[in-house]
Symmetry: C2
């Protein structure tokens, strides 16, 4: 049985992503993205799951930078899950919103529910925690008029009930997670149908000149290769030097991609393929009724 490392602790959105694609697998939670990526790079775990975009638990940049500068582990799958934040209280709590005196959560979770808190719970005190899991654990201990903001997993982990579901401000807030594997052995995943296939490549421009990026994109455009994401990031060697992360909406093939790579190399660009992989869009875990009922 392969162990899956993930950005923990238990109850994080990354944990939700792990549960969404793996069946009864051994898991190990790491507290930072570098720790988790080092673990898969050093063969402590067979696979790693870390947030790539719009995550509450760690910045995307940290993941991308670490994959580029520190470890050489390909992306083998992507998981996209909706971010849903709920208001969680102790199971013995019998009041309503107005009776909540203190809300506990991670800064980013509080920020994501900003409008709801402002309109519905403007008098509650806010206490910031290091994670949504820690917030749930505090509410489990304090009982009374305390509430936590977090996902369903953290409610289940600490035996809390859901007082209000989906209190986040934006309905279409998703997080992308990357599944990484160093040795390309077969992986036991749930039977999911891939929504699409992607190839992620990193392109470093030879120097900062106007129109360079335009030239790079030409190589994809005239081949009608669709890009689903492009982002420029500063190199760690100083301000002003950029590389680009480009997601191409198709699997790596033996014709188009090598041709693009040859064309970009002729322009003086450096290219690194970070992975070619299926993408799975999964639902957020649903509420189990015994947890929401009093």
């Amino acid at each position: 049985m392969s162990t899956v490392g993930y950005l923990g602790p238990k109850g994080t959105f990354t944990n939700v992503a792990v549960d969404a694609i793996f069946d009864s697998v051994d898991t190990k939670g790491y507290r930072t993205i570098p720790e988790c990526l080092d673990a898969v790079n050093n063969d402590e775990v067979a696979l790693a799951v870390v947030p790539m975009e719009n995550a509450i638990e760690g910045t995307v940049h940290l993941t991308v930078d670490y994959l580029i500068h520190q470890v050489d582990v390909p992306i083998i799958a992507e998981v996209v899950i909706p971010i849903e934040q709920h208001l969680l209280v102790h199971p013995g709590f019998t009041g309503d919103l107005k009776d909540i005196e203190t809300i506990h959560s991670h800064t980013q979770a509080i920020a994501q529910c900003h409008q709801f808190i402002h309109k519905e719970m403007n008098n509650a005190e806010i206490e910031y925690t290091s994670s949504t899991g820690e917030a749930a654990s505090i509410v489990q201990q304090k009982k009374g008029s305390h509430a936590a903001i977090g996902n369903i997993l953290s409610a289940e982990e600490y035996g809390l009930k859901v007082l209000r579901t989906s209190i986040h401000d934006y309905e279409n807030n998703h997080t992308r997670f990357a599944v990484l594997q160093k040795n390309q052995k077969p992986v036991q995943m749930k039977e999911l149908t891939a929504n699409t296939y992607k190839t992620t490549i990193m392109v470093t421009l030879p120097s900062d000149y106007s129109g360079a990026l335009h030239q790079v994109l030409s190589a994809f455009a005239w081949r009608k290769m669709n890009l689903s994401k492009i982002e420029s990031r500063p190199m760690k060697t100083g301000l002003g030097n950029y590389f680009f992360i480009i997601d191409v909406n198709q699997p790596y093939d033996a014709v188009l991609f090598p041709a693009v790579q040859a064309e970009l190399a002729a322009l003086g660009c450096q290219i690194k393929v970070l992975g070619t992989y299926p993408c799975f869009h999964v639902e957020a875990p649903s509420l189990s009724t015994e947890k929401t009922a009093e």
Copy 2:
């Protein structure tokens, strides 16, 4: 005197940015990016300073998304400061690295110092806090074998001394902060020389088709307008719809920009100018000797 709202509490990197460009100004710290942006939008404060890129205190995405979807406040300046993390201890502490049993800090700060901790302090316990300021406050109270990771401001705020300077893994780690102002009144800033001028625009593509971005960039490329950053972001209306944030390396003018806008409008794109502004690259605050000496 105008009040400057910023992503607080005191001692954050955003606070460092405020000190770098404003002289003896009234400030007010907010605990989340939306709160801070609402404050400037509702005229509670005259100006706001929030992280835009690579920040430890909040995701960039949150700032950009809020500026686009929730408030209409232009960027009037950008401040770039190096991220420097130091190991802070109680002034009464007389040991060395090996005597530190517990390190306190924000997850992102711990992650940024991952290599240092791994090599130099591998036996220390890690305790995660909601901010680097909270970590410093804990070390102030606990004394003994506790250390915090944070910047110089948080050391000064809590009277800690610096045991090791610059323990972050990457030397060239910078954070970009945006200064926002709703009413375009003259602002009293320190006398700094702008390193460059930028214009940030948001472009929404009419639909997802191959080469669309390439066409958009053509409008800039053939005018030799240099882009310093480009990033695609999903619209909140669902996956698959994208907008682009583009930083052009020159101030808005009466000829080139209107021509680009007309050309993009003809392609069916929507354009929004988020600001045209000077960029200031400033030094991280230096150590005052009386704080570092025992």
